[in-house]
């Protein structure tokens, strides 16, 4: 997947000017933030649950190697095959080899961010395979040739009218404008495809080490069709997604849907274990699990380690004032919002995504909403520190910080400079009380007035009052 995070600023400006997108984003607080708050309140001890979730994820990460090997052994024992991919290219090659090995021509997919990370669809289509996204949102995006803008609500940036246009252009059916009718239309188009497909591809919300199972939380039911109707099922998962026991999975199952959509449980919860047995009527003949590293193992024990706890619920996106304002595409890669501002530099390199950790207000909403208590603002701060250490900042920014630091360390110099600044601001703006344009702070005055102050610093004023 191409990384365009370096043009965050320009992309954000486009988002701000896009009134349709702004209307779509305005739905987030009620649809997601309020829904999560209600679900957490109904649950009661949600803070204790978050603490338990964080502890489970940390415990897992501390023994990740052991648990992954156990997962592999248990999955293999039940008839699955496990493949290890160092990076996205290797994962794509593995999936392609699996498809060729089984004589596959048609593939159906359920929603998976990790396959977006790998740009798996492009790789498969280039090799001449037919790939169809069956999650409604992902299907719409596939028709529109767009990328997801949210990790659980991929098409949140589009409205009903756009979907109507898209469907009527591509399906050649009478135009539907009503959401239920649009869903029905997609269902009718997609349903035969599940039966025609040779292979289904999914991600994995969790991997369970003690049983070698893949757990999926879905809302549309397509995940079940993708994993049971085609003769081959391939699940692609990041290596950090493992938990040890079904008990731990149960705890996380309470956290994930509540944090993501405010549901007590998603409409479908699927636990896939092994291939179809001799006496069973459902399930694939072949079950392949691709475990993807792609930079994750490098994060273990690093300053960004806590991001590996992430269970991809999207709560930090929903609660982020910046995400709510610019949407997901501006972030320029697969993962947007606060978690994306950590994942993107962590996986593709800070030099290609330096702006993302800067574009945060440190309001702390993400950390409060995170079901596994990842200290996201701290991680972003660490990335900012690394950007300084690796000299990735523009020269003028370094200069400004050094000048400010020098003044702040020297009280007399600081007193002189602030006294001058207070007088200058007052001269510029005392008539109205506001300054409309400040050449040295144009980033501020382009959108806001700057206070003119009182013409004296507070320290001057207090000292004068004391002596007078």
């Amino acid at each position: 997947m191409e990384v365009t995070s370096h043009r965050f600023r320009a992309a954000a400006a486009e988002s701000l000017a896009n009134t349709q997108l702004q209307r779509a984003l305005a739905r987030i607080p009620e649809r997601f933030v309020a829904a999560r708050a209600r679900a957490a309140a109904e649950f009661g001890e949600f803070e204790q649950l978050r603490a338990a979730g964080a502890a489970i994820r940390e415990r897992t990460l501390a023994r990740l190697d052991v648990l992954l090997e156990r997962f592999e052994a248990e999955a293999v024992r039940r008839g699955a095959r496990v493949h290890w991919a160092v990076d996205a290219a290797e994962a794509n090659r593995i999936v392609l080899d699996i498809a060729r090995g089984h004589g596959v021509r048609r593939i159906v997919k359920s929603k998976s961010m990790v396959t977006e990370e790998c740009a798996l669809n492009d790789a498969l289509e280039t090799a001449g395979l037919e790939v169809l996204e069956t999650d409604l949102g992902e299907y719409i995006l596939q028709l529109a040739r767009e990328r997801p803008s949210h990790i659980i609500a991929p098409v949140i940036h589009k409205n009903r009218e756009e979907v109507t246009e898209l469907f009527s252009a591509r399906h050649r059916r009478p135009r539907s404008t009503d959401i239920a009718a649009l869903c029905q239309e997609a269902r009718e188009i997609l349903r035969p495809q599940f039966f025609a497909a040779d292979m289904g591809i999914t991600g994995a919300n969790f991997l369970v080490a003690e049983t070698g199972s893949v757990a999926l939380f879905t809302n549309e039911g397509n995940g079940r069709l993708v994993t049971t109707l085609p003769r081959v099922h391939v699940a692609v998962a990041g290596i950090e997604k493992v938990v040890e026991t079904l008990g731990e999975l149960a705890a996380l199952a309470r956290l994930l849907p509540r944090s993501a959509t405010g549901q007590a449980i998603s409409n479908y919860f699927t636990l896939l274990t092994g291939v179809r047995g001799a006496t069973e009527s459902d399930g694939p003949e072949a079950f392949h699990i691709v475990l993807l590293d792609n930079g994750r193992s490098r994060l273990l024990g690093s300053e960004l380690h806590p991001i590996l706890r992430c269970i991809r619920c999207g709560a930090c996106l929903n609660h982020c004032p910046v995400y709510q304002t610019v949407g997901g595409h501006a972030y320029g890669w697969v993962y947007p919002g606060p978690m994306g501002a950590v994942w993107t530099p962590a996986l593709v390199g800070l030099e290609r995504a330096r702006e993302l950790p800067e574009a945060a207000t440190f309001c702390g909403q993400c950390q409060v909403a995170c079901p596994v208590m990842i200290p996201l603002p701290d991680l972003l701060r660490r990335l900012r520190t690394r950007a300084t250490a690796e000299r990735l900042r523009p020269a003028r920014e370094r200069l400004a910080l050094n000048l400010w630091g020098c003044a702040a360390r020297h009280p007399r110099l600081y007193a002189l400079l602030t006294a001058l600044a207070a007088r200058m601001l007052y001269r510029l703006g005392h008539r109205r009380g506001w300054v409309r344009r400040l050449p040295l702070a144009a980033g501020w005055t382009a959108t806001r007035d700057f206070p003119a102050g009182e013409g004296r610093t507070a320290r001057e004023v207090l000292r004068r009052e004391r002596s007078g």
Partner: protein, 246 residues
């Protein structure tokens, strides 16, 4: 008790009336109030701009300047959060002596409303009007400042406190974020401004000057010249002679 007032750099440059209000209120508690002359900035901009070394230097400078104070009080949630929450984290790998000093500083640091809530015997201010309080993020989520400023405001004769919708949502300031991403920052602020207006209060207040100047500056730029913006401490101390941001 000897209380050191840390004015904070924004109040120093832009709002002496806030420093005066804070000193007045602290003096009413019966404490001896000192304002160390060499104070500059708490280092929060350095911390958030990825310059921990500069932030550490300023932290140690503060330790020296407030060494003889039993309490260090700041009229800003984010600056108080810097001293109390972030300084100790900056020194985890520094010599024991420095760490001890920094932790002692953190332990006696207070945000102004927290400090005053149980100590202020009388409220000198009076204010005729409806006021809505914006919860600034750092004070709220790092320090848990929520009820203290509201309780103090409730004691001001004539003042009616009304809650705006989503008072805990970020206003979009975010320190250097407001300069670097001015357009996004202003767009976030527009939601806050709408909530302020919808509350029906003619005055908005809060505990962090950065957020207040951001909201006031945006209101001003978008043609709202009636909504008044003041720090809560100014309302509690009395607004005579205080130039309201509006």
């Amino acid at each position: 008790m000897r209380v050191g007032l840390f004015i904070t750099c924004l109040a120093d440059l832009l709002r002496p009336s806030l420093a005066r209000a804070a000193r007045t209120l602290l003096a009413l508690t019966g404490a001896e109030v000192v304002v160390p002359r060499r104070q500059t900035c708490c280092g929060q901009p350095a911390l958030n701009a990825g310059a921990p070394t500069a932030a550490r230097t300023l932290a140690l400078k503060l330790v020296r300047e407030f060494a003889d104070c039993d309490a260090v009080v700041l009229p800003s949630g984010s600056c108080a959060g810097t001293l109390r929450i972030h300084f100790p984290g900056l020194f985890t790998e520094r010599p024991e002596a420095e760490r001890r000093d920094i932790e002692a500083l953190a332990a006696r640091t207070h945000e102004l409303a927290e400090f005053l809530e149980r100590r202020l015997p009388e409220v000198p201010g009076r204010y005729a009007g409806r006021v809505t309080y914006h919860d600034s993020c750092s004070g709220l989520r790092e320090l848990g400042v929520k009820q203290a400023p509201r309780a103090l405001l409730a004691r001001v004769p004539g003042l009616t406190l009304v809650e705006m919708a989503n008072a805990e949502d970020c206003c979009g300031f975010g320190g250097t974020f407001a300069l670097k991403y001015g357009a996004i920052s202003a767009a976030i602020c527009d939601r806050k401004c709408a909530a302020i207006r919808a509350s029906g209060a003619g005055t908005v207040t809060g505990g962090d000057l950065g957020c207040l100047m951001h909201m006031a500056g945006r209101l001003q730029r978008t043609g709202d010249t009636t909504t008044r913006v003041l720090h809560w401490a100014e309302l509690v101390a009395g607004t005579d002679g205080v130039q309201t941001w509006k």
